[in-house]
């Protein structure tokens, strides 16, 4: 979401003042931990401030402690959702042979350790119980075998032809295909065909360990049980051919599989249909010497099998006329069926497996659609942003550009600085305001600070600076009190930890030359961008202000005036009823209210304010959680705009959907990018995945660079962009998911004040005020 830097200078009591009776909303005040920190970090602590018990609600510290665990659960849930999605993708990769795939095929080897009788014997090899015998199909019977299926396209056609000519066959299915197309397996069994195992994902077993062979067989049986409720005792090793082709590598596998109770079914006559030599050739290949029985190898999967199907349609009646019977293997050998019913736990395991695979396939389909949507949204947004911000820049940077008939605005301005425990920063803030080149009245509203914030300001005894104290009531209340006490009609609001340039106030109020402008957003910049997390936020802010806000300005639906730097017309504020504490994002709330009241809200790029961004993940998390959840609350609060008439309706039908789409819905799909990145890296195509990722990164870098150029910023912080894509974005969408969960479960969010270090002492290029922790 777009940064706005409203820093919740005051710790809000989440509606305590409005609904004092509803204890549930009441936010317990200072608890022990906070005050300990304050004591150790505060610069000047007046004696009366260090006692905590006097703070209203201070006795309720344990309420807060009890509330903590569900919050942690809410943080866990989004992660669980991601892990679950990833697991489903893994499952899909697994049954699509993209995991554990092994395409090695062993070259031919010596055969001196294979018994002569087997090499010269028939294609059905029985090594069960340590024996080694082989059988062949009696004369006049043909056992058709189809390998590698079931295939959604060709298997039904093969089955149709077999049915038409009343023939039975044996299908050697792979576990992956059977898992994906269980209905076809069921149809095979129902129509009297026999099923044999062809392993789970078709590796050359002579390369595999016994454990892996066991696993291949068990997984294949599991898929079969799930599909048709049976087990089978027939097996054909992948890449096998006739018994005479057994060698020293494949023979031990045959022996081992026999010891597990399987009958190995090799090939007598190879149709070579996989070469696609034409139907006539397939028929010729598949026809045994006159009258002799045979096991014929064909394929119903692994490519275009139209020739096989066409050949079968001729081959079957032709050989039936010659007196051949087409039977499945056990019929041909006059043996009991190879199938056994599966019941109980095994059956349920099989069904659960098939259901899971289906779910994974379906989910993947949905996710792919989601990815397409997010891809479209991302690029559409970038395109729109570039286009509209270029337009905005052209418009506002024209030499003869004026905001309106009243230009230039020179009337004095009231600057409101709500402050809650800002001892570290407030001096820099106030001193920067005093240097303003526009006539200002400065009002510091101390929201019941306990670290002597008010005293610090009073001790400065600067001209034009007033301090208003109130009991802790939250930032909206402090701002309303400030509005009530302000003398002028143009009101600038800022945070207690923000530093203005001398020209900031003047630039910020110039748009009021247009009487239709009700509020102005300034350009908040990260002052502490030296660290990685600072640089990431810097990139985010520069893009957010120079691309997002210009776009929203042109579209006339700017969702938020940043709390760090914004200006309002008193008449507009009065018409919408001042600041409200209905939401956690009172800046978004008031901005939307302005739009609905028909005021223009514009962006003044030259009104720069330097703010201190959170420096720890923890603080960043809580800040963004609040913004995110607050924005959702504000959208919900103003949902009626959707059906209203006039400017409200215009905002409701253009602005709200746009803001919802870009700030709340699109980021929800963003994890898909990472899910598919991981999926692509693991299961391939790895190269293409990486290329695509770098492609998106390049687009992003180009947009960021454009924003930096617009803001005349140095480009060096952009080196942290790749890492931002790998670490920061994820944090942001997990926060968003968490907000969604909070919203859907009706949870509430408390204020969490940032720990400030007072690092942003002055705008760059100026000398910091002494004592401000200048870097």
């Amino acid at each position: 979401m777009a940064p706005r830097t409203s820093r919740r200078t005051t710790r809000q009591s989440a509606g305590q003042s409005v609904h004092p009776s509803t204890g549930e909303r009441g936010e317990p005040r200072a608890n022990g931990r906070r005050s300990t920190r304050r004591r150790s970090r505060g610069r000047r602590i007046p004696a009366q401030a260090s006692g905590e018990g006097q703070a209203p609600g201070g006795g309720r510290a344990n309420v807060r402690r009890r509330l903590l665990p569900p919050l942690r659960l809410r943080r866990l849930l989004p992660l669980l959702v991601l892990v679950a999605m990833m697991a489903m993708l893994m499952l899909r990769g697994y049954v699509h042979s993209e995991v554990l795939a092994d395409y090695r095929v062993r070259p031919e080897a010596a055969a001196d350790r294979v018994p002569r009788t087997i090499l010269d014997g028939g294609p059905v090899v029985d090594t069960r119980g340590g024996q080694a015998t082989s059988m062949d199909v009696p004369d006049g019977r043909i056992v058709l075998t189809f390998d590698d299926g079931p295939d959604p396209r060709w298997t039904p056609k093969v089955l149709d032809v077999l049915k038409k000519h009343d023939a039975h066959a044996v299908f050697f299915i792979t576990g992956t295909m059977a898992s994906r197309y269980p209905d076809l397996v069921e149809r095979m069994v129902d129509e009297g065909h026999e099923i044999g195992l062809h392993t789970f994902n078709h590796p050359d077993l002579s390369y595999q360990s016994k454990k892996r062979i066991d696993w291949e067989l068990t997984q294949n049986q599991l898929a079969l049980a799930g599909a048709a409720g049976i087990r089978t005792s027939l097996f054909r090793p992948p890449y096998s051919s006739s018994a005479s082709a057994l060698d020293n590598n494949s023979w031990p596998v045959t022996q081992y599989v026999g010891s597990r109770g399987y009958l190995t079914v090799l090939t007598g006559v190879d149709s070579e249909d996989w070469r696609r030599p034409g139907a006539a050739e397939i028929i010729r290949n598949s026809t045994p010497d006159k009258g002799k029985g045979a096991i014929v190898l064909m394929h119903d999967s692994g490519g275009d099998r139209s020739q096989t199907v066409r050949a079968l349609d001729t081959y079957l009646p032709q050989l039936q006329r010659q007196g051949y019977a087409f039977e499945n293997l056990t019929e041909a050998l006059n043996a009991p069926s190879a199938h056994t019913e599966v019941t109980g736990l095994e059956l349920w395991k099989g069904r659960a497996w098939t259901a899971l695979v289906k779910a994974a396939d379906d989910l993947t389909g949905v996710l792919v659609v989601g990815l397409a949507v997010i891809g479209f949204l991302v690029f559409a947004r970038f395109g729109l942003m570039l286009l509209l911000s270029a337009l905005h820049t052209r418009r506002t940077r024209r030499r003869d550009f004026v905001w309106g008939p009243d230009a230039p605005v020179t009337e004095p301005v009231s600057v409101l600085v709500p402050a809650y425990n800002e001892a570290k920063c407030i001096e820099n803030t106030v001193r920067s305001l005093v240097k303003s080149d526009h006539p200002v009245e400065i009002l510091v509203i101390d929201d019941g600070s306990s670290d002597g914030t008010a005293r610090i300001v009073e001790d400065l005894s600067l001209p034009g600076v007033r301090v208003v104290r109130q009991l802790n009531a939250g930032k909206p209340a402090a701002l309303n009190r400030g509005i009530a006490n302000a003398r002028h009609d143009l009101i600038v609001m800022m945070d207690g930890d923000t530093v203005f340039e001398p020209s900031t106030v003047r630039e910020l109020v110039q748009p009021f030359a247009d009487p239709k402008v009700g509020a102005v957003a300034g350009n908040a910049k990260v002052g502490n961008k030296d660290t990685l997390i600072g640089a990431w936020q810097h990139i985010e802010y520069v893009m957010g202000f120079n691309l997002d806000r210009r776009m929203y300005d042109v579209l006339r639906c700017m969702p938020t005036i940043p709390g760090a730097v914004g200006a309002f017309r008193r008449t507009a504020l009065n018409r919408v009823g001042g600041m409200s504490d209905d939401t956690l994002a009172e800046d978004t709330d008031i901005t939307m209210a302005m739009h609905r009241d028909g005021w223009k809200v514009v962006y003044a790029e030259k009104a720069r304010a330097w703010t201190e961004a959170p420096e720890s993940v923890q603080q960043l998390w809580s800040q963004r959680y609040r913004w995110c959840y607050g924005t959702m609350q504000a959208i919900w609060k103003h949902r009626r705009a959707l059906i209203e008439r006039g400017p409200s309706g215009r905002f409701g039908r253009v602005g709200l959907p746009l803001v919802s789409l870009f700030m709340v819905v699109a980021p929800l799909l963003a994890p898909l990018i990472d899910l598919f990145l991981v999926y692509g890296l693991l299961f391939g195509p790895t190269g293409k995945t990486i290329a695509a990722w770098f492609g998106v990164l390049a687009v992003q870098a180009a947009c960021a660079a454009y924003a930096f150029v617009l803001d005349r910023e140095r480009l060096t912080p952009l080196v942290s962009l790749p890492l931002q894509q790998l670490l920061y974005r994820q944090l942001m969408y997990i926060v968003l998911l968490q907000s969604w969960i909070t919203a859907l479960t009706g949870g509430r969010l408390r204020w969490q004040k940032l720990r400030r270090k007072g690092q942003v002492a002055a705008p760059p290029g100026e000398v910091a005020v002494d004592g401000g922790g200048a870097r």
């Binding site: 030296d530 660290t531 990431w536 060096t716 080196v719 962009l721 790749p722 890492l723």
Partner: protein, 436 residues
């Protein structure tokens, strides 16, 4: 058999924490000097002023080297590139000393501390090789042999060793001489870095980043055939400079504050990219056990550079141990004080342990029931460290002598030892070394 194996630690030039006189003087100096953190913690006055973070890195590096020489896992040098870390720490100390004293004095001091432990190893090792039948005929012409033997005194190139010498039946394996030579390349590279350091420091000051990156460029030039040199001796030297020179220079640059002049987001943003390229290069060039980063100087140079860059970027400069690490203080102190001894002797300890371990095969109960125990290298680890501890006691004193200190058997910085040392110092300021 290759004598190169990775990892090795440092001739812990400045590594005696409670070493009297000079060390503590340096410590105080560093506390009030250019260190940026000097204001964050009150100087305890008694504290030796060592950067405990560097001590920790050196100890981990040393432990990893021994572990790797036993296990041989290819991924161990990836997890922690000990060699690069050791060179970086050494470069850092070198820059510190050069910042205070003249180049000749510093280089001389370094050589004085580096070489005696090597001479002791040579005295034992070369004698053993001669007894095993190694002689002037080994290299075709006795002249060469005699000439190369001087590398045991001043290792400007790799000292020679007897490759096919028999061991001592049942006690020392056949490959003992080769094993003994495994760590020597590090001494040779270290020596060259020390000799070049005055120049290198000047270059770092004049053009930091081109200087730091030039060894990586050298490595790339060697790897891609843009540069080829005659003779394995020169090639080995250049290849090591290419692989680890950037680490040494980074250590110097860190001391000179070059890293601090970068915005803090730069290193964590770029180092993973460099590391990624190095790892990718390794993985696509037959990375496996027996062919790891040590055999791929180019990949090694990138990976070590990135890892060292990150470690130096983090560098919290601990004047005191964080609470969780305090309990390891004595072990880490010991590892630091005897880094050269442990490094030079551990491969021999591994050979001996392995030979002794083989005797267990004759215990039929073990052979039948727990062959995995006999095959596994894990149970040998404690014995290797036990033998290494023996070497520390037997040969470690030479490090103290080389540093001009009173020799100690077990310099783990324990309070008792300190107290005794302090009392002696008080009673006998002349510091007569105990002869016991």
């Amino acid at each position: 058999m290759s004598t190169r194996s990775s990892d090795v630690p440092v001739p812990a030039a400045e590594s005696s924490p409670n070493g009297p006189v000079k060390e503590s003087a340096e410590g105080t100096e560093s506390g009030t000097g250019t260190e940026p953190e000097s204001g964050t913690e009150p100087e305890s006055g008694t504290g030796p002023g060592r950067d405990r973070y560097f001590d920790l890195l050196r100890a981990i590096a040393l432990f990893r080297v021994v572990f790797y020489h036993l296990m041989g896992w290819a991924w161990l040098p990836v997890v922690f590139p000990s060699m690069g870390v050791m060179f970086a720490l050494a470069g850092n100390l070198m820059a510190r000393s050069l910042g205070r004293r003249g180049a000749v004095e510093v280089v001389g001091g370094r050589l004085r501390r580096l070489l005696p432990p090597l001479w002791l190893l040579g005295a034992v090792g070369v004698t053993g090789m001669l007894l095993g039948g190694w002689g002037p005929d080994e290299e075709g012409h006795p002249g060469w042999w005699w000439l190369h033997l001087t590398y045991w005194i001043l290792p400007l190139s790799d000292p020679p060793y007897g490759e096919d010498l028999p061991g001592v039946q049942g006690l020392i394996g056949d490959d003992w001489a080769t094993a003994m030579a495994v760590p020597l390349w590090y001494i040779r590279a270290y020596l060259w870095f020390v000799l070049l350091s005055p120049l290198l420091l000047r270059a770092v000051r004049a053009a930091p980043w081109p200087t730091i990156l030039s060894p990586v460029a050298l490595s790339a030039a060697l790897e891609f055939g843009l540069l080829s040199v005659p003779g394995w001796r020169l090639e080995a030297a250049l290849s090591d400079v290419g692989a680890f020179g950037a680490c040494w220079l980074l250590g110097m640059a860190h001391r000179e504050g070059v890293l601090r002049r970068l915005p803090r987001y730069v290193v964590p943003s770029l180092a993973p990219v460099v590391a990624g390229v190095g790892l990718w290069y390794a993985l696509t060039h037959d990375f496996r056990e027996g062919h790891d980063l040590d055999d791929m100087p180019f990949a090694q140079s990138l990976w070590s550079f990135a890892a060292v860059l990150l470690l130096l970027h983090i560098s919290p400069s601990w004047r005191e141990w964080p609470p969780g690490l305090r309990r390891w203080d004595r072990l880490i102190t010991l590892l630091n004080s005897r880094a050269v001894t442990i490094y030079l002797w551990h491969t021999l300890c591994i050979v001996v342990t392995e030979s002794l371990w083989d005797h267990l095969w004759s215990v039929s109960a073990l052979e039948e029931n727990t062959p995995w125990l006999l095959e596994s290298p894990w149970p040998q680890l404690p014995f290797i460290w036990l033998l290494t501890a023996g070497c520390v006691v037997c040969f470690g004193w030479v490090e103290d002598l080389a540093a001009g200190r009173r020799p100690r058997l077990w310099p783990d910085g324990s309070a008792q030892g300190d107290a005794r040392a302090a009392r002696r110092t008080v009673l006998d300021p002349a510091g007569t070394p105990p002869r016991s």
